[in-house]
Amino acid sequence: MPGWLFGSLTAEHCGSCSSAAMAWLVVRLAISVSLLYTASAVFEDQVGKFDWRQQFIGKVRFALFDTQSQASKKLLVATDKNVFASLNSRTGDLFWRHVDKTGPEGHIDTLLMYGQDAVVVVGNGRLLRSWETTVGGLKWETVLDTGSFQAAALVGVQDHVKYVAVLKKSSISLHDLSSGSQIWVENLPDSDTVQYQTIYSGGNGLVFVLGVVPNSHIVIVEYKIEDGEIMNKKSVEAAWMSSLETSCTIISSGILLCADQITQSLYTLPLQSAEQTEMRQIHLQTLDLEVASGFQPVLTSTQPNPAQPPLSEFFLQLSPDHHILLQLKDNLIAPLRDFNPSYLAAFATSGERTVAAVMSPKNDTACSINLFSADTGRRHLDTTIIYHMDPNGGKPNRLYVHAFLKKDDSVGYRVMVQTEDLTLTFLQQPGRVVWMREEALADVVTMEMVDLPFTGTQAELEGEFGKKADGLLPMVLKRLSSQFILLQAWLAHLWKLFYDARKPRSSVKNEITIDTLSRDEFNLQKMMVMVTASGKLFGIDSKSGTILWKQYLENIQPNSVFKLIVQRTTAHFPHPPQCTLLIKDKDTGLGSLYVFNPIFGKKSQIGVPALPRPILQTLLLPVIDQDYAKVLLLIDDQYKVTAFPSTKNVLQQLQDTASSIFFYLVDSSQGKLSGFRLRKDLSTELIWEVVIPAEVQKIVAVKGKRANEHVHSQGRVMGDRSVLYKYLNPNLLAVITESTDTHQERSFVGIFLIDGVTGRIVHEAVQRKARGPVHFVHSENWVVYVYWNSKFRRNEFSVLELFEGAELYNSTVFSSLDRPHPPQVLQQSYIFPAPISTLEATLTEKGITSRHLLVGLPSGNILSLPKMFLDPRRPEVVSEQSREENLIPYAPEMPIREEWFINYNQTVSRVRGIYTAPSGLESTCLVVAYGLDIYQTRVFPSKQFDVLKDDYDYVLISSVLFGLFFATMISKRLAEVKLLNRAWR
């Protein structure tokens, strides 16, 4: 700030002007001081008062319990979101979390644990890392040789685990577990033909590498641990085998065990024996077993200690709900126990004892988990855990068991169940849910905020107006009765306040449940409806972050696109609010509708239209049906329109207003934007077409304005008291293109402002030497976009503002069809000294409050940048008029101030979107930032001008008032006495 503060003073140099300069300085100071205080930072005692953050990890791929000590609470997880974390197994909270790069670069290939060390292979065998599990510190990291990762295993010598072996496509390397240094690396023989997939070490000084030539033979290579010398290499016929990984495991003292569905057999082969040159076949028939047709049998074995050979017991899964525990003894396979039906089975070891936990269906809504001893298959008594399945959730698909020894030397256990909808449930006997994590929330796709309903009494009062009039007297009585109810409720409220005031603070905190939900005075508490990529919907209370309802939609394709539409808000009592989710398959474009009540999460009984054709566009009209639901139009690939709801009333209204319903379609592959008009028979006609040649530039994004946005002022008052009117076209579309040429000198970003009704290109600009990714916000009369300047290698902000000029063409109503003069466009650009993840603008009820831009930074901070800084009218040279207007002099670099971070230290990892919603208070805007984490807060762009602060001194103000009052009374009295005395004189 001192830069321009003092720098500009020299513009005035005559001595006599110094007083003017002085005044100027004061103005500048005033500006700078007022700028300082636009900061929206929170005070220390406000932390957590109206904001919360929830941290997630994603879908668990590996989970390991720390079994070293009995008291350990650590649970190590690695997830598909490239997150490696430690959870507290008693509470489900995070001890620590490491978020790696997104995409394959940060992909966690495997997780191994020994003692206090967790070894992780990252990025398809790029890095080998060892973490200290207590605090999550990195112990060492080694860059591995190139080659795609196949497997990794801990290698022990003489009962001590000393090494970790990493198998790549064409090489094997051995690393020291304590330092990470590479002991040796060897190329694998014939790696161009043999697919090496498995690595095994039984603690006898040898490492076995197993490879397969599909449908031909298996290759087994023996390496000496000390120096990597090949001790032995043999190949064994296995014509039926296509993959080792999926069909084989190693049991007992180094015996390879494979299962094949086609031959209905098990095969065994001792790895070390020299004489056996082919696999021994054991027909499942001889064991009275049969694999379900089309099911690849799964073998599960356990190796409790990497320095010792695995156990000879193993699970064989014959069908999705049939497991069997088998044992290999004296070269014979014998069944120990048959679990039919059973969903999931897992081994766990505590000390010297290995147990097997099996989940079996109990009834329609519950499963029972039981513990069996692994060596005998005998059931442990009193070890049943009942797992109640969420009727709105998915089926369990992973089971992780934590076994421990009780004081009486019996084995106790806890289990963690992961379901299809990515819920992690941690249970202990006899079925108590210790904690639950909803990991689907790590991937929020879209969200909306819905007002909460009124309380019963408020609704009663509202309902009075909704009902049909039935005579004067009943109306009066009804009014009186509802007033009486209100009075009653108020008294009850007062009594509760009084009652609560006597109790200690902490016990007053009342739980928020779905039944106690009601709108607060200023509508600050709302329902956050969140749609996640896995197809699970959540209803979250915005004040506390409590999940109030959840609903898992089954059979959602993994690459679906979601669009959430609020068709009816809570304002239309007694009609329930209604949300519609359009789920669209990205490949086929086929869509389906899911209609639900956003407050309770219940599926609506309303019939939805069948959508046999791919949906191109959706359009929410302000037209409402007799039940106050807004009409949703769905346009399919034949430009046919489906209305939802499609009652007679709606169709009639659509017919009446058809000629003023326009919509647009974007075909980015051809660069074509086209406009359509609705006809009376609900067919459509093409009315305009704009084609931006796709060979030169590609359309990357099209954005209109938000429907619920209000603009309070029509213009801006200039320094000379004239008004510059804003060009407020509600139909304006901002189209962003990127050039196909990516050369740094020739690449450009194109900005087109197109009227969505007439197809008129209102403005067309090219940002040279720029490329994406482009983030932009389109609101009021401005567009702000961020791009990458490829020449100077920096991020830049650019702002476009549109003005009609000093006169409005038609001040009463805006029509795209009748606005012949093009607007004046002002533009200015700035350097932004940080990369950007996402961009959004604040939104308030009436649009009086000044706007801020919320910038999500990759660091996890959310910057609240005053729109004042992004104003194309910022002057180069300060003049009297610009000062009058409060314009900040132009500076090419945009400042980033720490106090503008609205989430102080509550960073949001991988922030992907920011949602803003107005509250009942004009000063307050609700903000939700989502990515890997979810953060909710309130921002006050113009500070809380309509709220008294929390520590407002009521005592002082009232005592001053009373004091003044009495002083007036007394002085009046004194004056009277004095007057009287004077009169007597």
Partner: protein, 257 residues
């Protein structure tokens, strides 16, 4: 006429293309924007067609020819015929039922060096309400928009005035001749951050400061007793303002819009 707002979002297309910029420009054989301006046009013309039908099914007929000549982009003018009596009547009929008057131009490149590939398939269309055309006595403004390489990407038509008030146009003569203004608009170059002028200005100021350091120094030496209390006062009042609900500051910021 209240317009129904067009809201929307194409679900499929937007996200698929975000990665496309990474493909290196295979088919962009040096079409730089600078070329567009410098190439000289030999005169060529592009047909301008229009359609106005009572049943609102487009049937395009030739309205005139857009003649491009000269090296500059604004070297365009429209030669067009008068409306025939039949057309006039149709136009009035269309206006009476609030139909549309549509125009279209073929997708062409206005650049000389690509004459051969100038014409690509397809048209660019737009419309105006027929009644506003009638009421404005056929005075319209047609704008052709080009992209950086000189391709026509869009066409727009507006009438002046643009409103439909239901005024009867009695005089047939008013509907005979178009009073058209044609222009070609190419994209403007968005300003980059203006660092050079800023630095220059800063340097100038530094220079001035350097020239008479005495004066500078004396200024502060002279006025520090005013400045310091003022600053303090502002800080204090600001701080109070901050902690005091901030009604004043809020209004000030609100007024900034």
């Amino acid at each position: 006429m209240a317009m129904i707002r067009v809201l929307s979002l194409i679900l499929s297309v937007l996200s698929t293309v975000t990665l496309l910029w990474t493909q290196s420009g295979e088919c962009n054989n040096g079409r730089r924007s600078g070329d567009a301006v410098d190439t000289d046009f030999s005169g060529f013309s592009v047909p301008l067609e229009h359609s106005f039908e009572v049943d609102d099914v487009p049937r395009f007929r030739l309205r005139g020819a857009l003649q491009f000549r000269g090296g500059r982009e604004n070297g365009v003018y429209l030669s067009q015929n008068q409306l025939s009596e039949k057309d006039r009547n149709t136009l009035k009929d269309v206006a009476a039922v609030d139909g549309l008057y549509r125009i279209r131009v073929p997708r062409v490149s206005l650049q000389m060096d690509r004459q051969t590939e100038r014409q690509s398939e397809g048209y660019l269309t737009t419309f105006v309400r027929a009644c506003s055309l009638v009421e404005s006595h056929l005075s319209d403004v047609i704008t052709l928009h080009t992209d950086v390489s000189g391709y026509v990407i869009g066409v727009s038509i507006v009438t002046i005035p643009g409103s439909c008030r239901g005024i009867e146009v009695e005089d047939e003569v008013d509907l005979e001749v178009f009073n058209t203004t044609v222009s070609v608009v190419s994209p403007v170059t968005a300003p980059p951050p203006e660092t050079a002028p800023y630095i220059e200005r800063m340097e100038q100021e530094m220079e001035k400061k350097g020239k008479n350091p005495q004066e500078q120094k004396s200024f502060f030496a002279k006025y520090w007793m005013y400045i310091v209390p003022l600053v303090l006062f502002l800080m204090m009042s600001g701080a109070q303002d901050q902690s005091g609900g901030g009604a004043g500051g809020g209004a000030a910021n609100g007024g900034g819009r």
